[in-house]
Symmetry: C2
Subunit: 346 residues, 2 copies
């Protein structure tokens, strides 16, 4: 079936989808609805049929609606579209509460339409590299994962700085990074959650969080995202008992480090002002093996192609509603932990 | 009073003290006791009076005993020395349980001698730099501290790999790093503890730990020490609302990064394979201010000089028994957390 897509909310991400979804065969964007007249006009200038009224928009000949508004109206708008028989992509985070998430999932079932969320960062190059490294057991048994994103701008943009619209860093990036890890490690992999949030430069929402995810496997995840961490640590560190991988940014910049056990270790002692250390002395250069990161493919158009084929009943959705719900449960636990100072068991 | 020091346990650290304590005026090392005959001979070759018997050693004309044995006999030996009227320096970690720590503190009081622990890493250059940065409020309000030590050797030396002798990374380095932070931030600063331990390359003790210390101030500490983290992150990261400091190793290698708010921010968008980000785009180079780390003095001989003067009643000990006890309480909470998977409230 040809996908005729309509966009609700023709802002930053709405335009992004207009530029990307049609890269896939049999997917076109035909209409847009917004409450801001200038945006409706911008949509019309971009060749779409513009709507100032939701009901009129939903009567249009479209079979997929993308909801790209602030988070606080995702549920209401997605449900309206599903009740009108449209399949729905919702931008992340899916909603403002688990109650809303459940309402959206139920509405999809009742109206026999597909419902998915734009967890686009499952297609980030850096993440695909990490996923390949872990799945091929390149590092043996992985005992810890660092997932970090450090920025210097000290700013959350627009409504992302406003709590009433679902702003804050946990909803903005936490939702992606938790989704990446759960998709890779299993949606039931997390045992407990501890979270610290800070409003460093943004008065009303957290623009920094540290999230510790303790896994049932015994491994753990250190996740740290902040817009005001001026010395950036690598985006990823993967600690395995056969080696360490690091990915510095969103690209293939990084490496895998192993030790050549066949080389006799050099005896080195490091002096500090307060004493020596043998344990933390470096190895000789000959003992270290540096490998390139795998060049894992990462093609976001797969997202739209999958949805198109799922609508045709040819395959399952990659981003499934129950996965979205599982991720949201972790985010709610993170907020609860940050508020109470307590570890939350899942 | 001239300090005449005797060493119990003439191993790696015993020799270290012999080489360092006499750098201070009025401190000399005169005797050593060990249960290993070769070590007694080594002590004699180094010019000390060697003892094969503890009672004989304690009858010697010494007024300070250094206990540098494996951890499991610290309490017994330190108490024997104090009962013989000697002041005592014990190597870290002080003991194997809080019960032992309390016995040692009580024995010091009963015998009216001084008791201290060799928390030498209070004199590490890197730590002194961090302490100065925090105390001068160079970074404004500090909301997170990373204290890390990553090694590549995958080894704990000698008895440090043996649980029955008090081995493991929490006792070996955790005790230093917790002591550093509590001395700097306050011995009652910590609210709760969460800890993960891993036996990556050492069969019987943890050679990796991650310790999350949640502070009453609202800030938190991420502490990670491992002998098998092949891509080393900086020893310290200090995240403040006016800037970030990083110290790469045990030296002054690192910097302070701030932002020049008078420069108009460049508009930059970073593309990733799955979408753009404005929030995590870098700043223009003109906006960034790079500063050198302060050159904070760090002189370990202060440790011995302080003890000498404290024995003379001229000053208080820098490393006080009740501080040692507070640090040990945190270590016990860390072990309990690692064992149970639960956050421990202090």
């Amino acid at each position: 079936m040809a996908i005729r897509m309509g966009i609700i909310g023709f802002g930053y991400m709405g335009k992004w989808h207009l530029n990307n979804a049609p890269k896939v065969e049999n997917v076109s964007v035909v209409a847009a609805y917004d409450i801001v007249p200038e945006r409706v006009q911008a949509a019309e200038e971009a060749g779409l049929k513009g709507f100032y009224n939701l009901d009129e928009f939903l009567k249009e000949d479209i079979n997929l609606v993308l909801v790209a508004t602030p988070n606080d109206v995702h549920c209401e708008l997605a449900c309206a579209a599903m009740k009108a028989g449209k399949n729905v992509i919702c931008e992340k985070p899916v909603a403002m509460s688990l109650t809303e998430v459940d309402r959206m999932i139920a509405t999809a079932k009742e109206n026999n339409v597909l419902f998915t969320v734009h967890q686009n960062r499952r297609w980030d190059k850096d993440f695909r590299i990490v996923k390949e490294i872990i799945e091929t057991r390149e590092l043996g048994n992985v005992y810890a994962i660092h997932s970090r994103l450090h920025g210097t701008r000290g700013a959350m943009f627009g409504w992302r700085a406003e709590p009433e619209h679902g702003g804050g860093m946990i909803y903005d990036w936490g939702v992606h990074f938790v989704d990446q890890l759960m998709w890779m490690l299993g949606f039931d992999a997390i045992k407990s959650v501890f979270c610290k949030t800070v409003k460093v430069k943004t008065p009303e929402v957290e623009d920094y969080f540290f999230l510790l995810l303790d896994l049932k496997s015994g491994a753990h995840i250190q996740m740290e995202v902040g817009t005001w961490v001026l010395n950036q640590l690598p985006r990823w560190m993967i600690l395995g008992d056969e080696g360490t991988a690091y990915v510095n940014d969103f690209t293939r910049n990084g490496g895998i480090i192993k030790v050549d056990e066949t080389v006799e270790p050099e005896e080195i002692v490091v002096m500090t002002t307060s004493g020596p250390t043998r344990t933390f002395a470096p190895r000789g250069k000959k003992e270290i093996i540096n490998k390139e990161l795998p060049d894992s493919p990462a093609d976001l158009t797969e997202y739209y192609a999958n949805l198109r084929d799922a609508i045709d009943g040819k395959c399952e959705l990659i981003v499934k509603p129950e996965q979205v719900r599982a991720v949201f449960t972790v985010l709610e636990a993170a907020f609860e932990s940050a508020k109470t100072g307590r570890q939350i068991e899942l």
